[in-house]
């Protein structure tokens, strides 16, 4: 079973107040910054993975409004709203340039952010991102996660559900409350249009920066076809696949996923050096 970390105890998270949101921001490691945007399950399942990235980099990982211990003001109800909150977060943290890693819902937020300030992002990593509608109207691009039993959802989410699905029955009340609240905020943000912003695909042309799109080979939420169509909307995107992982490769294949991300982000240094030598 995956054990959820307890953000309040295991980490020193700062609270930053932006536009009525009390934002819980986890910061780990040192070096060039990564803005890390978690997926719909919240930040708790990712803390161990964040630590892997933090061995090499400074990782800044906010809990999105309405997730974790971040508040949710009445006015906020869209992914675009969250991207605007993070524009301010970049300023508050003086992140003039940063890499951005976004997972699932966080990939959608990262894509929105990249359309707004592409000049402030060095490299973009989207892991199993949602956010665009690429297929035909009579078929959902993303399966309806709100209209299926939990065991079916776990089969779509995990390569090995028996090993990796959360044991909700055994979870302490405080953590389970956060799981429930995360799910409610996810519904608020993604219910309609389901899991996408119809405008986003017409804005991604602005994202002129190297992008890596990753998915687990067994992901039943974000299909290979979907990811290929997503990548085609970005000017400089390439795709990598993580074997023996589902929708959360950062949970099922931590080491390999972290290695793939860091390898891609390091290419910038290589490119810079070779640029300087030429």
């Amino acid at each position: 079973m995956t054990v959820l970390a307890k953000p309040a105890e295991a980490t020193a998270a700062n609270m930053i107040s932006i536009a009525g949101v009390e934002l819980e921001v986890l910061e780990r490691g040192g070096g060039a910054p990564i803005l890390y945007l978690h997926g719909g399950a919240g930040i708790a399942p990712d803390v161990t993975f964040i630590d892997l990235l933090a061995r090499r980099r400074r990782v800044i990982a906010p809990s999105h409004p309405g997730f974790g211990r971040s508040s949710l003001p009445d006015w906020l109800d869209s992914v675009d709203d969250i991207a605007h909150v993070y524009l301010e977060l970049l300023d508050r943290l003086a992140l003039t340039r940063t890499d951005v890693v976004g997972l699932s819902l966080g990939g959608w937020i990262a894509a929105e952010l990249a359309t707004k300030v592409p000049e402030r992002i060095d490299r973009l990593v989207l892991i199993a991102p949602v956010g665009v509608k690429t297929g035909c109207p009579d078929q959902l691009d993303i399966p309806d996660i709100f209209a299926m039993p939990r065991d079916k959802l776990d089969r779509l989410r995990f390569h090995d559900p028996a090993r990796n699905a959360l044991d909700l029955a055994a979870m302490p009340d405080e953590e389970l409350y956060i799981v429930a609240r995360n799910r409610e905020t996810l519904a608020l943000l993604t219910w309609e249009p389901y899991m996408h912003n119809p405008k986003l695909k017409h804005r991604l042309h602005r994202v002129h920066l190297p992008a890596l799109l990753l998915r687990g080979d067994s992901d039943g939420i974000v299909s290979a076809e979907y990811l290929a169509r997503y990548a085609a909307l970005l000017p400089q995107a390439r795709i990598e696949v993580i074997a023996r992982a589902g929708h959360l490769p950062q949970v099922e294949q931590r080491e390999r996923t972290a290695a793939a991300i860091l390898r891609f982000l390091d290419e910038r240094q290589t490119a810079k050096r070779s640029g300087a030598g030429s």
């Binding site: 109800d77 709100f146 039993p149 909700l168 029955a169 429930a180 799910r183 519904a187 219910w191 309609e192």
Partner: protein, 359 residues
């Protein structure tokens, strides 16, 4: 005190329950035979007309994408009843305004029915049951806020008579509100609001709307009524709450003897047991408070809006049995057996509701 006849327009010609996943939301409509459905509409409308003949008022509701209630557009049936009836009050309970995109359109429909019926409309508003958010594609988060904004907007549309007014709210936007017709009743038809928990009742009481409760039983109902009275008093409406502000819906079966009443009541329970709905349709995120949602994720606990599939039927059946038996049992006391058949339904209703209203 008024008594109302309510029918959900159920479609009963279904395969055995173990052959389908859910009676709501996902049951394929190939199981609906339009010819049988047409005959059912005739039957249900005829029953409402019998109710009027018996001196009982008429109540209807709507549900969506379900065999349990094949009346997905209650205002349409209401319009038919407005023309087919002459005296009965016509209660729609109600309009699921958190799931309707245009509250002003709802205001128009209701005003039209009020005029068609020459002032016999009683207009109910409901939040809608949890399995309705998928059919409506309606966000289950912040439904309560949407419902109250919609209700206030509808009252504004009903009561503004000097040309266009506007509304720029949190959820709804109308630049030009100037409905024709306006309601027959002034300032507007009586408003009913449903709830099954004390939480919302105080707010309903503060507005002096009619509080509708469904199957909350002798145990649950007093807390809801107490909350309503508290809201009423805190809004400085006086100490005494008129009894016609507190409504209760129960399943009821009247028979010639207690044994016959009980036997009939057991059949009525079909409606409670034929509600096979899987958990993920019963608890869309945001529909219930977060703490209850957490307990449901854990796999039990909390007061169910419907309940886990296996538990759901049992809980509903138990709740239903409680009401049906007590009402049926008290429906026709031995000393009233000489009551004229024509008065029988009315009498048993009075007897049952008087127990509830003392709560």
């Amino acid at each position: 005190m008024k008594a109302w006849h309510f029918s959900e327009n159920a479609y009963p010609y279904l395969p055995p329950a173990d052959e389908y996943e859910s009676i709501r939301v996902s049951l394929p409509n190939r199981h609906y035979d339009p010819k049988k459905g047409a005959a059912l509409y005739d039957r249900y409308i005829d029953e409402w007309l019998v109710a009027e003949d018996e001196g009982v008022e008429i109540m209807l509701n709507e549900h969506h994408q379900t065999a349990t209630c094949v009346d997905p557009a209650a205002p349409l049936v209401l319009a038919a009843l407005a023309r087919l009836t002459k005296r009965a009050r016509l209660l729609i309970l109600g309009n699921p305004v958190a799931n309707r995109r245009q509250p002003v359109r709802v205001a128009e429909e209701m005003a039209m029915v009020d005029v068609l019926s020459k002032g016999r409309l009683e207009c109910g508003f409901v939040r809608g049951v949890p399995y309705e958010v998928l059919p409506a594609n309606s966000n289950p988060v912040r439904m309560n806020e949407r419902q109250w904004e919609a209700m206030d907007l509808i009252v504004k549309a009903w009561t503004s008579h000097d040309g266009p007014v506007s509304h720029e709210g949190r959820f709804f936007h109308h630049r030009n509100i100037n409905i024709w017709p306006r309601p027959y009743q002034q300032p507007h038809p009586p408003i009913w609001v449903s709830t099954t928990t004390p939480g919302g009742a105080a707010r309903v009481g503060a507005r002096a709307y009619v509080q509708a409760t469904f199957l909350t039983g002798y145990r649950g109902t007093p807390a809801i009524y107490a909350s309503y009275r508290k809201g009423w008093r805190e809004a400085a409406r006086g100490h005494d709450v008129p009894v016609n502000r507190l409504a209760y819906a129960a399943l009821l079966y009247a028979g010639e003897s207690e044994a016959e009443a009980r036997a009939g009541a057991e059949k009525l329970l079909w409606y409670m047991t034929a509600n096979k709905v899987p958990l993920h349709f019963c608890y869309p995120p945001g529909y219930v408070p977060t703490a209850m949602h957490a307990q449901i994720l854990r796999g039990g606990g909390g007061r169910p809006a419907c309940g886990e599939q296996s538990q759901c039927n049992r809980r509903e059946r138990d709740r239903g049995r409680h009401h049906v038996c007590r009402h049926a049992g008290s429906g026709l006391p031995p000393d009233r057996e000489d009551v004229q058949p024509r008065r029988r339904l009315r009498t048993s209703l009075d007897h049952g509701t008087s127990r509830i209203s003392r709560a």
